[in-house]
């Protein structure tokens, strides 16, 4: 039965481009998400509800809302991203697509980056787009709303990227939700502080470039380091399953 090797070994040069593989992962995630639209609406609905309930629960006064509106929106955005994180790898883990993803010859951290970007497109970006409407509802002025949107635009990808590490680490656990929050919230705090700080500075008419530069630095740091950490965490989680 020892035939000669007629099925040739494939050289590394016969590779599918990494970008091509990344875009395949990205588009599959978007496609799956659009087949399940109610899951897409969940974080948005949560975001809207928290923001609408705040004036009712605390105070509908214009002065109060003007002062704390940006904070409310940032906290609500942060929490709704946190809520959506558990799904990032969970379904793929359950149906086995994650195993197949790990066995693709492309570097895993880039494929994870593609998945995380898809997650941001589906949660972070819609939140940013909804923010102007809710900002006006909280009596924020135009300048504040614009700054707020900008900080969320830079900040929410950081939330997705950092959150992916936690989601990957807690993948093998049965009740991952609480642990995930405990792991991730401390890492979210700097982003929250500088995000809201920027809007406060803008409201006082101070310069915001320093704040934005810091937020940008967070984003660059997360973009370059978080995918490595997530990929390593995924390896550990799958190894133990």
């Amino acid at each position: 039965m020892k035939a000669d090797l007629q099925v040739p070994l494939k050289a590394e040069s016969s590779s599918v481009g990494t970008l091509q593989a990344m875009s395949a992962v990205f588009s599959r995630d978007l496609r799956v998400a659009f087949r399940q639209r109610q899951d897409l609406l969940n974080p948005l609905l949560f975001f809207t509800m928290v923001v609408t309930l705040f004036p009712l629960g605390v105070s509908p006064e214009v002065a109060f809302l003007k002062q704390s509106g940006a904070g409310i929106l940032w906290v609500a955005a942060l929490l709704s991203v946190l809520l959506s994180l558990d799904h990032l790898f969970r379904h793929d883990f359950d149906d086995g697509t994650l195993e197949q993803l790990m066995l693709q010859p492309q570097p895993l951290f880039l494929l994870v980056l593609a998945k995380t970007m898809a997650h941001w497109m589906l949660t972070g970006l819609p939140l940013v787009l909804l923010t102007p409407v809710l900002g006006l509802m909280l009596h924020l002025d135009g300048n504040s709303v614009a700054t707020l949107c900008l900080t969320l635009l830079i900040g929410t990808p950081v939330l997705s990227l950092v959150g992916a590490i936690g989601a990957a680490l807690t993948l093998g656990l049965r009740s991952a939700g609480v642990l995930l929050s405990l792991l991730i919230i401390p890492l979210y705090i700097p982003v929250l502080i500088f995000g809201t700080g920027t809007v406060a500075a803008a409201a006082e008419g101070a310069s915001v470039t320093g704040y934005l530069a810091l937020l940008g630095a967070f984003l660059v740091l997360a973009l370059t380091l978080a995918p490595f950490a997530s990929a390593a965490a995924l390896r550990i989680s799958l190894s133990n399953s």
């Binding site: 099925v7 070994l9 590394e12 992962v25 359950d94 066995l103 494929l111």
Partner: protein, 210 residues
């Protein structure tokens, strides 16, 4: 004589403080079908996941074409196809979309080739039905369609016969046999009574040997 594709030297794996196997050595030669045998819970799946590179909790040596496997991860992954317990099929996508996504990172093919593979597993007419509306056996067939278009020399197949009907089982057996004749190497775990001429066996659980 040909070189072994994959070689395991005194492989040892411990899980939950229980030794699943130790001193397990074997070679996977091109042109062979190898069956991993053992009772439930003896570590068949674990062995296959170790071979695939999904499980890192092992000691010993794994050689791919004579060199340590973990030093040539990319070339190994490019030449190895693993089908696990969980078929890797997204219930919300159609068989065609699933197959396209699974092949995209390895060998993108034209839709015609993918459709032909799906037809080959008896799924013609279901190409555009979401997989969650298909039966368990049909979902596994979507994953098995990859075998019809796979060009990897090494296949690691975990419980391929699960939920497959008698005709399907026969077809897969024939496919594995044909694959071995073409020079590919196949490692399978199954509880199904697979008996191909010239088949190798690896026993795990109980006494570790060979």
């Amino acid at each position: 004589m040909s070189e072994p594709l994959l070689q395991a030297v005194s492989l040892e794996c411990e899980r939950d403080e229980r030794v699943l196997f130790q001193n397990l050595s074997f070679s996977i030669l091109p042109g062979t079908v190898t069956r991993v045998e053992g009772p439930n819970g003896s570590g068949k799946t674990t062995l296959l996941r170790i071979l695939a590179g999904l499980n890192d909790a092992w000691s010993g040596e794994l050689l791919w074409c004579g060199k340590p496997r973990d030093q040539q991860r990319e070339s190994y992954l490019r030449n190895m196809l693993y089908l696990g317990h969980r078929p890797g099929i997204k219930p919300l996508l159609t068989p065609l979309e699933n197959l396209r996504a699974l092949m995209a990172g390895r060998r993108p093919l034209k839709d015609a080739a993918l459709l032909q593979a799906l037809a080959g597993t008896g799924l013609s007419g279901y190409e555009n039905v979401p997989c969650r509306n298909l039966s368990a056996g049909q979902q596994r067939r979507v994953a098995l369609a990859r075998l019809l278009i796979a060009d990897e020399p090494l296949w690691l197949l975990d419980e391929v016969f699960t939920a497959i009907d008698a005709n399907g089982v026969e077809a897969i057996e024939a496919l594995l046999q044909q694959r071995a004749e073409e020079g590919g190497a196949v490692v399978v775990t199954t509880h199904h009574d697979l008996n191909l001429p010239g088949m190798n066996r690896i026993r795990v659980g109980g006494k570790a040997e060979r």
